[in-house]
Symmetry: C4
Subunit: 204 residues, 4 copies
């Protein structure tokens, strides 16, 4: 099994999943002769769905970057890794459904928990794929133990956030959404890892 | 016709088909002001569809791996092989429909038979593509007759399982689903073929 | 503009369009507690849509092969060719809509004409793209004038068939469908072109 | 992060988004036994949606070409550029929704403004991505300052047009649509940039 075709297939799945997020943005079936203020109100009523779209889009993009980073370090995938990758994609493809549910019912506990569980399943799949790659020593020789520890920490960082989001849903589902957005900030802000990579001239 | 673009196109089709499986997971049209327990019940009512999604996702992933393995062995596709590939993709693209039908009516015989027929059509298309590739000697020189026999056996293994699933539907459609899941186990579990490849240092 | 990324983008569009053909196969909204014979009848009622799916899938596959063959001969696309490619893809992406309309109303003249016009627009776009490539001499040096004439003839063959299909719709729309299927046979059957390529050891 | 996989992912997203534009073309739910004139009228009633499809398809194609041109000049993307790319794709994926809204309500001000804002967000994202690439000197050595200035001007040209389209919507939404089509002409017509590239033997 070559890394190249596994990456091409995974990229395709990520690309379709991320595009389908927007596909769930739909106007309710309105009569064809509505006036401007009615369309304006209908667009405004979609605001929580737009919000869910924005957050989910950036989260899927984030997971794609993590997936990409893991595969840069894998020279030659084996069968177990291929199945772990498939499981990761399985949860990624479920996110448009979770995002639509959260966008439709942003104030309901089940929606916030379902969304948080989905994020956690993606994050955990990516983490175990990375652990397996480290364990089987597929990883490139030039990744030192310090760099591997940094990547471990960065990947692990997401799960407590998702867990906090799920827990917060029992108190107020709207706090969950705020916590899920925080996960984005953790990954967007330049980190120790980026500084390490920059000073060591490594493009990953 | 180059193998590279044929693979890129096939990967694209597999990626879209596998992502569309999840796209069929939809909440029924509920009023916007439902409470938490109603959403919870609606999500729970989707359980057979989630199950169908999980099984179908792994099956499509399995067929993708088989497709990949066949094309690794093909150096230069010709026109008949290209059409055989197209027929294979035709049945792969039908699986989201079959999976949705089975997810919506898991207890109905027609749904279980339709799904089983679809699996068998994919499996048979892949098998005949592989036979044709062997016959026309497109295959790489380093595949010995023993390895080819092992791959034959592995590809052929699916069809009796799908046939058993179809037959079981006449007795109880729920047994069919169990048999289709067994097909996954056959391909996930490490086999004689994997051991052969590992000991001979071949990454396929 | 590199050929490689233009091909990757076109492959992606073809892959999504061909997969969406099946996505239009949908069961009508049935009550959840229907019995087996009702599902069986619903599946049977989809027969004209299945037929439209099969034919359209193979036609899109055929156009993809033609697209591929044209781009093998193009070493360096320029801006006009890029726009001609975009126009071709525009008509390809419309085919799922035409196919759904024909599948839903196989006996209606407008459906058969719309479908035929769509096929002709794709065929003509491909033909003019090929003519432009020949005219601007992007084509590889090793394509002799005889081979170019053969490819011209093969690409041109489709249009009279589509025109005949459109004309036949005014008499009986079901004859149109038969004529559209004949277009497939023209391209599937091994031709003088294939023999020429085989004897000259050219993989295209 | 390698340019190759970032391009493959972006191509996938563009390809899915552009294909989904056509997916929004749908016949209203008609009874199965309508006659030919009724289907003809239903197809004719979709005319504004076809128009919106054609314009949006070419616009997305145009943005894809701009995206491609920017990435040809980037040798090694970094994390900020990757996030800027993700934001660009986020707005691209929203265009099928905007196009559907404009196609459904071509005479309403909100629809024309929403569509224009979406175009401007895509155009601006592309512009800032290009500015960042220039600023960080990722760009290839052989792009002289004159060429960079030309590309700047070409990319910037879109925004005043989109702004004019949005402003015109307050007067008459149908003028907006005309202005959006003008943006296509600006990019299709051969420009000073094309002449420069041709005379300097650069394929970009």
């Amino acid at each position: 099994l070559t890394t190249q075709r596994l990456e091409a297939f995974s990229d395709g799945v990520f690309a379709v999943a991320i595009t389908l997020l927007a596909f769930e943005l739909r106007l309710p079936s309105l009569p064809p002769n509505i006036d401007d203020s009615e369309l304006y109100r209908a667009l405004l009523a979609l605001a929580p769905r737009f919000y869910s779209y924005l957050v989910s889009f950036v989260l899927v993009g984030m997971f794609w970057v993590a997936h990409h980073n893991i595969f840069v370090a894998i020279e030659r995938p084996d069968r177990p890794l291929m199945w772990m990758n498939l499981v990761t994609l399985l949860w990624v493809c479920l996110l448009p459904f979770s995002a639509t549910t959260l966008g439709a019912y942003p104030g309901l506990r089940s929606a916030a928990i379902f969304y948080g569980l989905n994020l956690m399943l993606i994050g955990q799949s990516l983490f175990w794929m990375w652990r397996y790659a480290c364990h089987r020593r597929f990883i490139l020789q030039d990744l030192g133990p310090e760099l591997i520890r940094m990547i471990n920490r960065k990947i692990l960082l997401g799960s407590p956030l998702y867990a906090a989001g799920i827990a917060a849903a029992f108190w107020d589902p709207r706090i969950s959404s705020t916590i899920y957005v925080m996960a984005i900030l953790v990954y967007i802000l330049p980190s120790k890892l980026d500084r390490h990579l920059r000073t060591h001239g490594d493009s990953r």
